[in-house]
Each structure stands twice: as C-alpha cells, then as structure tokens.
Amino acid sequence: MTTTTNRTALFAEGLRAAQGEFVQCRSWDDVWQYAESLSDETPVVAPAAYVHLQRGESPDEEDPLRSIADRSVGITIATCGIAETGSVLLIEPAPIDRAVSLLTRHLIVALAEPDIVDELTDGFRWLAQQPRAAAYATFVTGPSRTADIERSLTIGVQGPSRLTVAVLP
C-alpha cells in the first residue's frame, strides 16, 4: 500500500521529470502569496479556485478567453493528481473554466494532497463514472512544449510556459 507521503513524493518526481514545478503549501493564503510573488500583475483566478481564494481577477463572463489572453499568472484547481506521471486532472466543461489554464503564461494548479491517486487508471476510472466531468477533461503533465524544430525541446509553446503544482494538505 502506498502511503500519502510517498505518493506525494512520487507525484513531485513525475512532475519535475516533465519540467513542472512543485511547491508544498499549508493554506490557500500560501498559494496566493506564491502567486503574487511571481509578477506585478494581479493573478487571474479560475472560478473553481475563486471559491476558495475569494480574491484575484476573474475572467470576463462574456468573453472569458479574450479577456485574459497572455496574462502572467493564473490559478486554477485540480480534481486529482496522478502519482505515476505527475499529472493533474483539470475538469473544465465551459470556456470560462478553461481560460486560465489555456492562456496564462505561468499556471499554478492547486491540488489537495489527499486527491493524489496512484495511477492513471484511478483517474480514468473516476472519469468514466462522471459523464458531466468528461465533457471537457484534461490530464496536464508539465508545461506546454514542442520539439518540432530540429527536435530541440522548447518549453512553452501555445499553452503555459511554466506550470507549478501547489499541493495543499
């Protein structure tokens, strides 16, 4: 049986292998402070994270994507993490849920430590039973990347160029 601690350690290892960053936070206040320390711009916050944070800027409801294109820092929340791969599962049925994870330069994903599962199988099993969640679900593993020019790995193409997972107790 894998314990929570080494599940978290595995998760961090997988995430780093995919060029993602890992920070351990004690509270949402910590997450916010970390986000603010990254840039002078106010972080933009996805609706699911706003419920917890109650601060930051929200994407515009009318035109959520265009309103925040290329903002420096964004915060969203993951449904679960996969220890095997260092991935986070984002459930984002509407464009407004997705805007932050799509278009900010540095994405912070808050993840509750108990929500880290062992394997992709567990994530899939969960998803298969949640038809509404499967409307638009993404396992994100590290920041966006390409190797299309002479196979040279370049981090940050069309999605975020930095990805930090902030693990909460």
């Binding site: 995919a18 038809p131 993404t138 396992f139 002479e150 370049t154 193409v157």
Partner: protein, 724 residues
C-alpha cells in the same frame, strides 16, 4: 511541385542527395530508442507485465472492436449525439471534404484552425478547402511549418523532422515579415506562438483528429504537447473531429491501455503534456464527428492486411527503420510514412502511390518488434510488394535477374563463367585479396566486387576427406543433409565447407543433395511469387528424399522455408504438406551446434588473441530466433568474449534486392554499421547470414577497413584440429 509531392524517383534522388538528412535522422533514431526503451522497461516493471503481453492485450481489444465495428459506431454515435454532437459516417475523402465545406458555408465560416490530424492529411483537406474558398490554418507548430513550405509530413509524430533550422528561419521570416537567427529556436517558437494566436481569435471553426473514440460514452481522446488542440476547441464555435473508423474502442479502460502504450512509443513520454477528453458539444457550440472509411473496411477484410487497422499512429515503426533513416519519410512512404505507410497507402491512396517505396524496405523486421499493437508489418509489406508486382510495378532488370536466378543449370553455368573470369583477373593482377579492382560507377563505389572463387562450396566438400570427430554430439552417427544456399555456395564456398566440417566434428556425416539450388527467397522478396513457388518446388524436390535432418549456414533460407513457403502454397494442400515435410527438418547451423550437433564448451579455444565482434543477422534477431545470437555460441565454443558492438541487431544494409535497387540505401545503412564495427575495435567481424557477409565484406574492402569479415562457420572451423 514540392519536395514531398514529386514522383517517387525524384523524391528518392532528392533525399539521398541531402547530406544533412541522414545524420539528423540517425541522431533522432538513436535518442528515441534509448528513451523509449527506458520507458518500456519502467512500464514493464510497474505493471509486472511484459511489453509483449501489454501490446497483445491491447491488440486483441482493437481486433475485437474492428470485427464488430458497426455496433461500436452505433454505440458511439448514440452517446455522442445524446451529448449534443453530430456524428456522420462518410466513405470517401471527397465526401468528408464536402461535408466540412458545407457546414462551414452554411455558418458563414471562412477560416478553420486545425490541430494535428493525420486523417485531414490523408484527405488533403487544406488544399481541398482552399479550392472551395475556405482557409485552413495548421496550428501544430510542425504542421504549420509544413503548410508554409507546402510540404507533406515526413513523420507521423514529428511531421517536420526533415526541415533544418535554417530553412525554418527562412519560411518563418517570410510569413511573419522579420528576420530570425536560425540558432535561436526559442525565439522562433515564441514568434510562431504569436503568429498563430491571431488565427484562433478569428476562426469560425476548429478541427482536430482523435487518438481514440470511446463508444461507451461517445467521448474523444486527443493527446498533444503544445496545447494548440485545447485552443482550437475552445475559441471557435464549431468543432470538427476527423477520425478513421479504426479509432473506435469500447471503453475508458481500453483508452487507458492505449495511453500506456501510445506516448511511450511515440515520443518516449510517460504521458503527453495534454491528454484531453471531450464528450459532446459544449454549451452553445457545435461538434461534428466525421467517421471516415476511405478504404478501411476493405483493409479490414483483406487477407493478411487487416491487422494494420490496429495502428495508433505512434511512428515507432519509422524510428527503428534503417532505410527510413537514410531517405526520410518523403521518400519512405506517401502521406502515411514509415512501415505502416508502405502498407496502408494502398488502401487510402491506391497501389500507384504505394508502389514506389516498396523496394526500399530491407525486410529486417525491426518495425514489428516495437509496434505497440504488434502489427505484422514485415509480412504485410511483402504482401503489398506481391500485389504491386502483380499489378505490373516490377522493374525490368529485377525481372531479368530473377529469371536467370530461377534456372539452376543456367545459374551455375553463368557462375562458372564468372568464376573463370575472376580466375583470369587474378592472373593479370586485377584481384586484391578477395575482390576485383575493376572500376565501378560512382553510385556503386562504396562496395568492392567480390572475386568469385573457382570452386563451389559443394565441390570443396566432396574433394576432401571427412573432418575427424572432435566430440560425439547427440547427432553422432547420423547423416545430415547440407543445404548450401545458392549465394554462399558460389560466393563464399569456404563457409559452406566450414559448416560441413563443424557438423562432422560433432560426429555426424554430411550429405550434399545434388540438385539443390535456391529456396526462392529473392523472388519472394521481390513479390514475384510464381517464380518463388517454382524455385521452392525445386528445392523441396531436392531435399525431400529421406528423413534426414537438414542444416544450412544461411538463416535467411530457414526463415524463407518456415515463414514464406506456407504462404506460397496456401492454396495447394499437396505442396503445402511436402513443403512442411522439408521445413520441419531444417536447422540453422547455429541452432544445430547448440542442439543436436552440440559441440562442447571451449572446444575451439585457440588463444591467438584475435579480438572479434558479431553482427547478428537482423531478420533472425528480430524474429527472436535463439540461433541469431551467434556471439553467444562463438563465446561458448571458443571460451573468448566478444567485443561489445553497438546496435548488433540493426540491419547491415544488404536487404536482398534493396542494395541493388536502391544502392544509396544499402550504402547508407552499411556506413552506420561499419562505424559501429570500427568503434568496437575488433580485428574480425563475424556474422551469420551469407548475404550479410558478402555485403559487409564488400563495403569494408571498398572503404579500406582494418577488420576481416567472416561467416562464423569459417571463424570456428579454422580452429578445428587440422586433419592429416
């Protein structure tokens, strides 16, 4: 006409004259191999299952889904439509293009942003939409670069792998109206991001492919690394999905099985950056799922080929393909590239487009070993070659050569003349070592022409007394039939004689059946199965007398008899039985020396300090034959240790007719092999298949290499006690 759409011969010439293509693809293949193997090993450890078990399990899922494809399509459709999508089944490329164009027209859409989709390449969607007044923009960086350059993908996963950064800087500069430093790849990528961004904001529709379609919920799964797919499905109001019907899988757990195999095989990642699952249309938006047939049902129902529909487009078969490394995907394939492209092009684009590259395959069998769905690609490529031969696509020189080869008496006569000629050349000083000093045309100068020895292997055996017994093997006292192999018998007779002496050293007697000639392999390889059958029948007649075990120093003939003969005689019960009567008794010499004719450990130790290494005949190695590991056999018999050789199972470039039909391919692969041999620092290179010995020796001679090249039978027999 762009580099990727020209006729095959032009594409071939262009790719072999690009000096940078080979080294780039070689570096790619090697680094992919290393990281992919590490990924597969860790998967095996974690799941406690072998790669073979995992891939066969998923292949079985694909097979059973394809058998009942219409049921799964119906299930997918019902679920996706319940979630607000529209699902259409279309038969041809034209229908698919028309459907997309009609939806765009009725919604007033004139710009479509695309995420990577091989099906859209297959139906040449960009061009076709343009003809109908609609602009399609590729947003995957590699695909966009191809679009700007008006090229086709040269790899399934790394579509622009053939482009050099200088060229990328040029085309990006033209598109974006600024200068780029070719060495600053991050700057190019960043500008491409900005260049593409404006298109998302103004497009009316986004188009994606699908890696899997899940029937139980009507969901699609798409894996990407850049994040463009998520943008293309989030900004515009209409989402098109183009997918072949073979992308259907029953359930989420099957999707997970696929995801265990796909990213590891494609990009050697545990998981791609984005694995996105979408079910139905999003509120206020439209989703159209286009399920395309375009030859797929015909493929499913076609003998031998059906399994190719399991393909999950990972590109691994190209990543281990030696000829692909030399010519790249614009030559090795059509729109689909690599081994799978040699197979499925026939069904999606026609035999005309499939025929050109068929002769480039060296039949090494590496593709199947890494295919995550275990598609018997080597077998299928031979089948397509056969069909292409039947439809009149065989080169004339090849037909003539095979006609001569097929007639044993004429063949021996010609060989006799050539041997006499070589003897004459020797007299007048035109022979150096074992090769002629005759000038060759430039295209062929990478190899030396072997001088033919005067006496054939069979004559050598008859003209000496039997080798004395070294130690009684289990076969001691038996008489064994030796199948010399046509090529070895004339071009390297000593290896045939050495094979006989090694058998005799185990206490068995050797009989050489008189009328033997050729098992039919060259004709089979060339797709000329009528001729192959005639040659096989001749060999069967020559070998079927008596119940004796048959041994050959040529593993290629063993494979030919065991794998190809059943196909040649598939419709002829009587001949099939006769063929099996022979092939059941045939042994590769290496297997014989480990098995019935086993010689004791270290019996051939001589301590002369030779340093040797072993190239393993690729086809036998990739087929997992124990006998292919000749280094192990020779180590056991000599008590010495082989020098490590990098890539010991990678083809040497002989590839039967390939090295004649496409000399640059034979030479390029040989160069890769000889570099590894040089790096090993050996004095002697040993190998097991006569064709490889001849090819490796000719290349080493022409290149002035420092090592000797020997069939391992010669290497071992030289250490037998000399009989008085």
């Amino acid at each position: 006409m762009s580099a990727s759409t020209a006729p095959f011969k032009q594409r071939y010439r262009r790719s072999v004259s690009d000096p940078e293509l080979k080294p780039r693809l070689l570096a790619f293949q090697r680094s992919w191999r290393e990281s992919r193997d590490a990924q597969v090993r860790s998967l095996e450890q974690r799941t406690e299952r072998s790669f073979d078990e995992l891939r066969r399990e998923f292949a079985a899922v694909k097979d059973s889904t394809l058998e009942r494809i219409d049921d799964y399509i119906a299930e997918f459709r019902a679920n996706a439509e319940a979630a607000g999508a529209t699902v259409v089944q279309l038969s041809t490329a034209e229908e698919a293009v028309n459907y997309i164009a009609a939806v765009c027209k009725s919604r007033g859409i004139d710009l479509v942003v695309k995420s990577k989709s091989m099906v859209s390449e297959e139906i040449e969607l960009n061009y076709e939409l343009e003809q109908r007044g609609i602009t399609a923009i590729e947003t995957d960086l590699g695909e966009w670069l191809l679009q700007l350059a008006e090229e086709r993908p040269s790899h399934l996963v790394m579509p622009a792998i053939h482009q050099k950064r200088q060229y990328v800087a040029e085309i990006l500069g033209e598109e974006l109206g600024r200068e780029f430093d070719p060495d600053d790849i991050p700057a190019m990528v960043a500008s491409a991001r900005d260049g593409l961004r404006r298109h998302y904001l103004s497009a009316g529709a986004g188009l994606t492919g699908a890696n899997a379609l899940i029937a139980e919920t009507g969901s699609i799964v798409v894996v990407t690394n850049e994040g463009n797919m998520r943008l293309a499905t989030s900004l515009p109001d209409v989402h098109f999905v183009t997918a072949g019907i073979e992308k259907l899988i029953p359930s989420w757990s099957d999707a997970e099985r696929q995801l265990q195999l796909l990213p590891r095989s494609a990009t050697a990642q545990t998981l791609s950056t984005y694995t996105t699952c979408i079910t139905g249309a999003q509120p206020g938006k439209e989703m159209h799922v286009i399920l395309l047939d375009n030859g797929r049902r015909a493929m499913r129902d076609s003998d031998v080929i059906g399994d190719a529909l399991r393909c999950i487009r990972c590109g691994a078969c190209a990543n281990v393909c030696p000829p692909y490394q030399i010519v790249g995907g614009h030559t090795f394939g059509h729109i689909y590239t690599g081994a799978i492209g040699l197979v499925n092009t026939t069904f999606h684009h026609g035999i005309e487009d499939a025929a050109g590259p068929q002769g480039l395959c060296v039949s090494c069998g590496a593709c199947q070993t890494v295919c995550p769905v275990d598609i018997p690609l080597p077998k299928q490529i031979l089948e397509i070659r056969h069909r292409s031969h039947e439809s009149g696509h065989a080169p004339l020189w090849e037909q003539i050569a095979l006609r001569l080869w097929a007639r044993p008496r004429l063949f021996h006569h010609l060989m006799g003349v050539a041997a006499a000629g070589s003897g004459l050349a020797r007299l007048v000083g035109l022979v150096r070592g074992d090769h002629l000093r005759a000038p060759l045309p430039k295209r062929l100068r990478w190899r030396a022409i072997p001088a033919l020895p005067l006496r054939s292997g069979r004559t050598l055996i008859k003209s000496r007394a039997p080798q004395s017994t070294l130690s009684d093997s289990p076969a001691a006292g038996q008489t064994v039939d030796l199948f010399a192999q046509c090529l070895a018998d004339r071009l390297m007779p000593s290896a045939v004689d050495s094979a006989a002496r090694l058998i005799e050293a185990g206490g068995a007697a050797v009989n050489v059946p008189e009328s033997q000639h050729c098992c039919g392999l060259p004709a089979f390889d060339a797709g000329d199965w009528d001729m192959a059958r005639r040659m096989a029948e001749h060999t069967i007649e020559a070998l079927e007398d008596g119940e004796r075990e048959i041994v050959t120093p040529a593993p290629s003939c063993v494979i030919s008899m065991q794998d190809h003969w059943p196909r040649l005689f598939a419709d002829d019960g009587e001949w099939r039985a006769r063929a099996a009567g022979v092939s059941d008794r045939v042994h590769d010499l290496a297997d014989w020396l480990e098995g019935p004719g086993r010689l004791p450990d270290a019996c051939l130790r001589n301590g002369d300090g030779t340093s040797w290494t072993a190239h393993r005949f690729c086809q036998a190695s990739n087929r997992n034959d124990a006998g292919a590991r000749i280094d192990k056999l020779v180590e056991r018999l000599t008590g010495e240790t082989a020098r490590p050789l990098a890539e010991p199972d990678v083809c040497c470039g002989f590839g039967g007719l390939t090295s004649l039909a496409a000399p640059e391919v034979g030479a390029g692969i040989l160069e890769r092999k000889l570099a590894c041999v040089a790096e090993s620092g050996c004095d002697t290179l040993i190998t097991n298949n006569p064709g490889c010995v001849i090819h490796l020796r000719a290349g080493a001679n022409a290149g002035g290499a420092n090592h000797k090249t020997l069939h391992y039978a010669d290497f071992l027999a030289a250490r037998l006690p000399k009989d008085p």
